[in-house]
Amino acid sequence: MQKFSGFGLIARAFGAHKSWQAQWRDPEPKQSYDAVIVGGGGHGLGAAYYLAKEHGMRNIAVLEKGWIGGGNTGRNTTIIRSNYLFDESAALYDHAVKLWEGLSQDLNYNTMFSQRGVLMLAHNIHDIQSFKRHVHANRANGVDNEWLTPEEVKEFCPAINVGGKDMRYPILGGALQRRGGTARHDAVAWGFARAADALGVDIIQNCEVTAIRRDASGAVEAVETTRGTIKTKKVGVSAAGHTSMVLDMAGVRMPLESYPLQALVSEPVKPAFNCVVMSNTIHAYISQSDKGEMVIGAGTDAYTSYSQRGALHIATHTLDAICELVPMFRRLRMLRMWGGIVDVTPDRSPILGKTPVKGLYVNCGWGTGGFKATPGAGNLLAWTIAKDEPHPINAPFTLERFREGRLIDEAAAAAVAH
């Protein structure tokens, strides 16, 4: 692997940048692997990387039906935070934030992780009570989160309109996680892919898994793909919106439903918005990308669908809210909108662990908010596959919780979105 550095960039400029190598190979699938990851999103690629780096498994492959990062990894609004209410969630998401903090160095790839602060706005008494409860719970768990008065909100993010009594949704304060922020989505997929490839992982694109074969004892023995049969005793599924279909191939039913979630970006403008602002109550999420676009997240459609596009009225609703929150954005023109298919669990917490089928592991249910967890989810899925048991951090998030009634109900806690 060619190491990236500022010096290397300058040196290669003299050769008109012609000496760069491809960042990862494009191998033919082998007949068998020690482990196979289904889904080349950030989570799957991350799992392969950590399997190779921390667990010494080098004979592994990531199978991706399209192109890597072409799923939700490349479609999301990249908000990263860990101020979730419950102890289990705080531990899970903060594990990821800690990995984010060293990720660019670890991967030798600039993931453009920017801890610019995530500000969640409160618009009514319920929001105030709920956010303050979050602030206290987070602090007890060692996760930073602080309460801001409306004046402090204005000071932290001057573009927001906190004033007007005539506002439909007045701003009564906000919860700020300063360690939260954004990262560059594609760079995360590419950085993991490059680093995993360097450790010997085969990244195989245009390779859809169509069946999971099991031996007489019921354990996984191979996967059928559009590029042939691949033998393996360990399969880790990280297929986001398509997870329930992949697990169905092994006869495992999942508590998941897939919904379209959409986002949109404006034309690029000069730096104008210094942090991430979220409002669950009026359903708006916004940050400015390094390219200058305002990146806006809208809501999910009401119904399950695999159409990868959301309805216009959902996006319009979000824009209405944004125009009130940040009046100067009224003159912005929107450039593009798109959708992704998110896999939602009944309690809005992910599922990460073993399945009833021997050799089959799953990481899913991240729904509308799993980008922030990318390195953490990959890291814990790798552990679970390598040791054949969940890590203490993901042990509460296994599939059994739906049988045992042990839900981790972040949905009820905050109606959380991203």
Binding site: Y303, T304, A311, H313
Partner: protein
């Protein structure tokens, strides 16, 4: 936005409706006799198909009644709508109509 055919009021924009999740999931007659596995399955497992899905909708800003719809979750085409208590339509037949293309699905004759 979907145009949803309410069996009582006719086709109306999606905004008038509330989605009610997968249809035909009957609450077990005697929950206390169920083991955790079966009760968990009733509460949480859904079929989530990529294809035809029978689902409940409620015409909340209209007649306020619940009814069922069969929708293709790839194209979002609605193939049938029927009242609560009526039998689920023949899904294979609907799948064949869908395969005939959007015009066939919209009830037009297939020109061949």
């Amino acid at each position: 936005m979907l145009v949803i055919p309410c069996p009582y009021c006719g086709p109306r924009p999606e905004l008038e409706f509330r989605y009610g999740g997968e249809a035909h999931i009957a609450r077990p007659e005697d929950p206390s006799t169920l083991d955790d596995e079966a009760w968990g399955a009733f509460l949480y497992l859904r079929s989530n198909p990529k294809g035809l899905h029978a689902e409940r909708w409620r015409h909340i800003h209209g007649c306020a009644r619940y009814f069922n719809v069969v929708r293709d979750t790839i194209s979002d085409t609605i193939l049938a709508s029927y009242k609560v208590g009526e039998a689920k339509p023949d899904m294979d037949a609907l799948a064949r109509i869908l395969a005939g293309g959007p015009r066939a699905a919209a009830g037009e004759e297939k020109s061949k």
